[in-house]
Amino acid sequence: MSALAAVAVVESPSSEPAAIAVDGLTTSIRIAGNWYDAVRDVSFTVSRRETLALVGESGCGKSLTALSVMGLLPAGVGRISSGRIVVDGVDMTAATEAGRQAMRGDRIGMIFQEPMTSLNPVLPVGFQIAEALIEHRGMNRRAAQKRALELMELVRIPAAGQRLDAYPHQFSGGMRQRVMIAIALACSPKVLIADEPTTALDVTIQAQVLALLADLQAREGLAVLLITHNLGVVASVADRVMVMYGGDVVESGPVKAFFRRPTHPYSEALLAAMPRVDRPSEALAPIPGQVPTLPDMPSGCRYQSRCPLRIEKCAERPPLNPLPGAPEHRVRCWVRAP
């Protein structure tokens, strides 16, 4: 009951039905025979043309959330313990493996961090773009290749016609990431999950790829789930942001509100640890300690072991409360949002 109410509040302001709705997702992973919750009760929705950024340091559960949505948790090591994931009206958690497989690459596309290794080195890029069309749309080779050429032009690969039969090693990193985007978009998905899509790229190429993504998002009406630890990228492309720590969503809200008033002590610390060109240079403030491993995770608020504001009540898990006067800006903290 309460989970349903939570979705209603997090739901984005636009009136269109959400392209993806995740409700109370809890994902567990097995360590030394015991199951630990690595993602706890995460709920969010992303509408068409909207970008939700998932932020947090390594091990906070953002990639695991993406894998849960894709239905690609490693068998025997990870599982969805509770919650519902609805993509384009299809309940992924209730679907069979075959059903999820049919959704992947068709209605959900995904791009990865490493464009250098995410393409098959022995197959021509044109074929790799065409492959999803052959698999999901039953297109014949020729029609799929023709569409692949259009997609290569769509992602602005110069001289696309000559490059259709080229191999990945003949492309630069930025061009390969464009190929990855073309592959992910081949079947015109409703949802695009971008897992650190620009981390491996030069800064100038990063900007080009982000601009391309924004452009394609507007054109295709994509809902984008952007996973990143780069707050600069968040500020420039996301509509809403969700900060995760230790598998918990600790703060979520519209990007502007978040950057104007980062409220959770972890969000504050993240921003303080980021160098900024618009401020006089000063020593960066690192967050002391590191994310506890799952077996060592404190009960209650998971940030308490590193939090300067810790009070006794933190032993109990705080709810994700809206801030006064800003119902969309929600924070999980007893001190800041009691």
């Binding site: 690609l72 995904m110 290794t117 393409l119």
Partner: protein, 291 residues
């Protein structure tokens, strides 16, 4: 606009020196390939190039030393040894090639399945492979042919069975490494099925190692065939096989050494040629080979 033009300018193929160039630089692969092709042609063209009927006996001309008429001499029945070596190459090369190809095909498929799925499937296949590999190749072939009987088909079957576990192991190992690569995750994220991933994405990426192994195994298969023929478990006489000719020559080794020497040289030449090819291919496909 000009930026796009500048990016477009370099032609598509800016590749490192091709594998072929790297391989043939040292010459081993080229020599090996030429030799292998020559042997294959000799075997294929045997009816046209062999000077005599390999089975035609001529008691007057028996145990003749090499001469202008009989380059490799004649055997105890007066048969032309050159013709017999030429015809014998057909059996040896045919058995070796078919058995190796079958071994490559079956072993690679099983190995990919084993490495890709892991778990209990992998454990069972690996255990069975280890059992088969614990028999020396020759003993294994010997047992199988002895039990099944020495026919051409059984010979191929026996050598295939000895080859399969070796290719299972190579393919499984390469698949295990390949499975961790990002592009396999990308395939899953695209909703591709296991069959497509295994045989369209994993297989072409591991074929370099399989092919190298295959060329070396071809040599081993031909050697096994010859050895089995030598100990009397080959294709039965009067069909000429290299191992059989050597065996027949053994009775007159001191009087007429050419009977055994020439087919032995033929086997040696094939071994050297195939090993040159195997080593050359390995160097060509191994990125760590110094340029």
């Amino acid at each position: 606009m000009s930026a796009a033009a500048a990016v477009a300018a370099p032609p598509v193929a800016i590749a490192a020196p091709s594998a072929w160039k790297r391989a043939t630089r040292s010459g081993g692969l080229a020599i090996g390939l030429v030799l292998v092709v020559a042997m294959a042609l000799i075997a294929l063209l045997a009816p046209w190039i062999s000077p005599y009927d390999p089975d035609a006996q001529d008691v007057i001309m028996k145990l003749e030393p090499p001469s202008a008429e009989h380059w490799f001499g004649t055997d105890a029945f007066g048969r032309d040894v050159l013709s017999r070596v030429i015809w014998g190459s057909r059996v040896s090369l045919f058995v070796g090639t078919v058995a190796t190809l079958a071994g490559v095909l079956i072993g690679t498929i099983i190995g990919i399945i084993s490495g890709y799925y892991g778990g209990i499937v992998d454990k069972l296949i690996t255990a069975a492979t280890d059992v088969l590999l614990s028999f020396p190749q020759l003993i294994m072939g010997l047992i199988l042919v002895a039990v099944l009987g020495p026919t051409l088909f059984n010979l191929i079957l026996a050598i295939t069975i000895t080859a399969v576990p070796a290719f299972i192991r190579v393919a499984r190992g390469s698949t295990l490494a390949m499975k961790e690569r990002d592009f396999i995750d990308a395939c899953r994220a695209l909703g591709f099925g296991d069959l497509r991933i295994m045989f369209l994405h994993v297989m072409p990426n591991i074929m370099d190692e399989v092919v190298v192994m295959g060329s070396l195994w071809l040599a081993a298969a031909i050697r096994t065939e010859s050895t089995l023929a030598f100990i009397g478990l080959g294709v039965p006489p009067p069909t000429a096989t290299w191992g059989g000719i050597i065996r027949e020559g053994f009775d007159n080794l001191l009087d007429a050494p050419w009977l055994s020497v020439f087919p032995s040289l033929a086997i040696l030449a094939v071994m050297i040629a195939l090993n040159l090819v195997g080593d050359g291919l390995r160097d060509a496909t191994d990125p760590r080979t110094p340029q």
